[in-house]
């Protein structure tokens, strides 16, 4: 299996290099056979990478501990699903997975666009294969998952305990495939720049691919937050850890891109900006993949420091030099077709949205890399913690929410301000009402303001849905439910986008509450004793020892009462995995009471059963996960095939605009 795997990778590398040559030469000399052979090379690369990955998974299933990678990450007593998941539990395997996603989606894109975007394809293919060549080079030369051990151990070390969690089954695959999928839009963008075909064809080609990458990355981030919340035991879901931040960066820039690309489609503006965002998104994906493995930043995700850091840095520099170079070279062809006519226009709204997103990305990037830069310039490493990010990103998010509320009501070109005011009448009243009540009730004024803005935005978004539905019901004579369904189905880009907005607002509700009103207490209790936190009473019942195939477990049982009423029992665990006995891994006991999460961490204990428990009450965190579900629904809506694309795409404002131009 090891030979099959490494052989497949070497063959893939050779084919990838051949494919670049074939595509470039074929495009230059106009030889269709050569072009076709270049595309086939990509299909073959994707196939071979898949073969290598299957070989790796089979090695894991057969417990083939001759392979260093298998022996380092799995053991015989691990449950089957973790044995399979272990293949992306380390650097080599996760890079292989990255490569598979990039090559698989790239091949799929070549196939799907084989008729529609002929002129772009050769260069798209060459860019794609260049990226793959780099990855395959790393996988074969520096960091091969198929490296053999000199001596075969009888059993493997097992997967690190922190990774033995259901979160492991979902977070890395989504996050990595999100990163990797940005290769496809990047390749199309490069192709557009190289060919100089900067019209609307390449935009149409990449919107869905960007959307896919963006959705996967977003979902990966969400699942990561969920995982951190359930495993890491500090009562939160987002710690502004460098690695999380770096994964957030391409998501922020691609969110900006997905908004500003609408302006280019409709009004032919912001062309340079969009390409720059696309380039930045891909560069940040590479940066995120690489910095994790370079040991340059300290993080909870301390991966092994390895030599591949330099490779990634070189590749990143190449991507940036070529990308920015091409962008500058094509600047004359990227003139805006129109000017923004009014500050209260939808295009201006999108522009501000982009400014806010990039500002946020910049602040996060700056904070994350600050230790590196401060060391470079002032010879001291200064690192910034969560307070920095909360302080900078918090206000920006608030303004962004406000913009999210007003944006959908802005018209292209120019908005009638009186009409706008009439439209926001009810949502604004609701928002101000909530804000005033909040100012009276809450101890924190910022939470009241944040809720006021959130309610305002929710109000406007729901009002938009309601109006659209009413209009359909009137015009198409459908009942309300059918009208709402058809609205989503036929205008999926618009209303799917609003669904995603709603998802963000739901999350905002949870994020604001859990930041402003979290309670935390440490208790030292003997079995039978109790303590109170907020309206809750926790009764500690005692410790229990258990055993599974691969671990010894200490479980603390805690009864939760709200007032006098029994609300549930939670168990908080410490797992002692074989081979990792010095790393007792916590599993939190979390129970939902009403809208509050009661979150119990077992900290330390004595032989007589006395335990130190840390208890958090996290209000409304459940809203974040509900928002996550709505996010998925919204994204699915965005992908829904358009039944009548021609009709939906001729809005009146554009018809008016084209006559002027």
């Amino acid at each position: 299996m090891a030979h099959l795997g490494s052989g497949a990778l070497i063959l893939a590398l050779i084919l990838a290099i051949y494919g670049i040559g074939a595509s470039l030469l074929g495009a230059r000399r106009r030889i269709p056979e050569l072009l076709l052979s270049g595309y086939r090379a990509t299909y073959a690369v994707a196939f071979l990478v898949a073969v290598a990955l299957i070989a790796l998974v089979v090695s894991f299933l057969r417990h083939d501990f001759r392979l260093a990678y298998v022996a380092g990450r799995s053991s015989r007593d691990m449950p089957l699903h973790y044995v399979i998941a272990a293949f992306y539990g380390g650097q080599e395997g996760s890079l292989l997975y990255w490569t598979l996603v990039a090559s698989g989606l790239g091949a799929l894109a070549l196939y799907l666009h084989r008729r529609s975007d002929r002129a772009l394809l050769p260069y798209m293919n060459a860019t794609l294969l260049s990226v793959l060549t780099f990855l395959l080079l790393v996988l074969t030369v520096v960091s091969s998952p198929f490296r053999l051990l000199p001596v075969t151990p009888p059993d493997g070390a097992g997967l690190n305990p922190l990774l033995r969690d259901p979160g492991m089954m979902a977070h890395p695959p989504f996050l990595l495939s999100g990163y990797a999928s940005f290769t496809v839009p990047f390749a199309f963008g490069m192709a557009a720049l190289i060919t100089g075909r900067l019209g609307s064809d390449w935009l149409r080609a990449i919107r869905r691919w960007t959307l896919l990458a963006w959705a996967l990355l977003g979902l990966g981030l969400l699942i990561g937050a969920w995982w951190a919340y359930h495993v890491l035991g500090w009562g939160g879901y987002w710690g502004w850890d460098p690695v999380e931040n770096l994964a957030l960066l391409p998501w922020l820039t691609s969110t900006a891109f997905l908004h500003s690309v609408i302006v280019q489609e409709r009004r032919g503006m912001l062309k340079v900006w969009n390409l720059a965002l696309l380039l930045a998104t891909f560069a940040l994906s590479i940066f995120g993949t690489f910095i994790v493995r370079s040991g340059m930043l300290s993080s909870v995700h301390a991966f092994a420091v390895s030599r591949i850091g330099h490779w990634f840095l070189t590749f990143l520099a190449l991507v940036l030099i070529v990308g920015i170079g091409l962008l500058v070279y094509r600047l004359p062809g990227l003139q805006s077709e129109r000017q923004i006519e009014s500050v209260t226009s939808r295009e201006a709204g999108f522009l501000f949205n982009n400014l806010l997103f990039t500002a946020m990305a910049f602040a996060v990037f700056w904070g994350t890399t600050f230790p590196l830069f401060s060391e470079l310039f002032w010879e001291t490493r200064i690192s910034v913690g969560p307070p920095f990010y909360n302080r900078v990103v918090g206000p920006l998010l608030l303004v962004l929410l406000l913009l999210m509320a007003i944006g959908p009501l802005l018209a292209w070109r120019r908005t009638d301000v009186r009409l706008l005011l009439r439209n926001v009448r009810w949502p604004a009243t609701a928002g101000i009402g909530v804000g005033l009540v909040g100012l009276v009730l809450f101890s924190r004024p910022w939470a009241a303001i944040a809720y006021a803005v959130t309610v305002f935005a929710v109000g406007v978004t729901l009002q938009e849905f309601w109006r659209g539905t009413l209009a359909r019901r009137r015009n198409a004579r459908e009942n309300v439910l059918v009208a709402a369904w058809e609205l989503l189905r036929r205008n999926n880009r618009r209303y799917g986008g609003y669904l995603v907005h709603l998802a963000m607002l739901l999350m905002a509700v949870g994020i604001i509450a859990s930041n402003a009103f979290q309670l935390e207490r440490q208790f030292v209790l003997r079995p039978g004793e109790q303590g109170t936190i907020g309206p809750y009473t926790v009764v500690y019942r005692g410790l229990e020892d258990r055993r599974t195939a691969d671990a010894e477990i200490v479980a603390a049982q805690v009864d939760i009462y709200r007032g006098q009423r029994y609300a549930g029992t939670v168990e908080s665990f410490r797992f002692f995995y074989r081979n990792y006995e010095d790393q007792p891994t916590a599993r939190m006991g979390i129970t939902l009471v009403g809208m509050d999460d009661v979150y119990v961490v077992l900290d330390r204990w004595e032989d007589d059963g006395t335990a130190s428990l840390r208890v958090y009450v996290n209000p409304l965190v459940i809203w974040i996960w509900i928002g996550g579900v709505v996010f998925v629904l919204g994204t699915v809506t965005l992908f829904w095939p358009q039944p009548v694309p021609a009709l939906a795409r001729v809005p009146q404002s554009v018809a008016g605009a084209t006559s002027e131009a």
Binding site: P153, A302, E341, V384, D582
Partner: protein, 148 residues
């Protein structure tokens, strides 16, 4: 479209551009301000080794520091449940006393490389509010050939 209309549009366009630019500058300035003040307060901390900390004790006194070092073997005093844990970290030449009251990270142990963060006062142990463990084999453990 007549040329008169076009000129009017572009004159207004210029005014709009100036306004948009103004708003962009305001946003950039606000972000800059937020980032600058963010670095001034307690959000930023000096990243030093134990020796560096003792060398510059005067200049970082009363500031937040982030110190990396290995947990000295035999220095961990866990105390009973609820009491803060005490330990020393070392960079090979100098040692520093740490007091920490929070939940220890999962992989905290003697000899592990940790990064503690908290307020520094000369001559006192660091009252850490965060302890970050890091070990090179975190996600890449070496197989032990002798296990059976």
């Amino acid at each position: 479209m007549s040329s008169a209309v076009v000129t009017r549009t572009s004159a207004r366009g210029l005014r709009v551009d100036v306004r948009l630019f103004g708003i962009a500058v305001v946003i950039a300035a606000a972000v800059g301000y937020l980032m600058y003040t963010g670095l001034q307060g307690t959000a930023a901390s000096y990243f030093v080794t134990v020796s560096e900390l003792q060398a510059k004790a005067a200049s970082v006194d009363g500031r937040r520091v982030r110190v990396g070092g290995d947990v000295v073997a035999g220095s961990i005093v866990r105390g009973g449940p609820g009491e803060p844990i005490r330990f020393r970290i070392s960079d090979g030449t100098n040692e520093l006393e740490v007091v920490y009251a929070g939940v220890l990270p999962d992989i905290f142990a003697e000899g592990r490389h940790v990064i503690v963060e908290g307020l520094y006062r000369t001559g006192q142990p660091i009252q850490a509010d965060s302890v970050l463990t890091q070990c090179p084999s975190r996600f890449e453990s070496v197989p032990t050939t002798a296990t059976s």
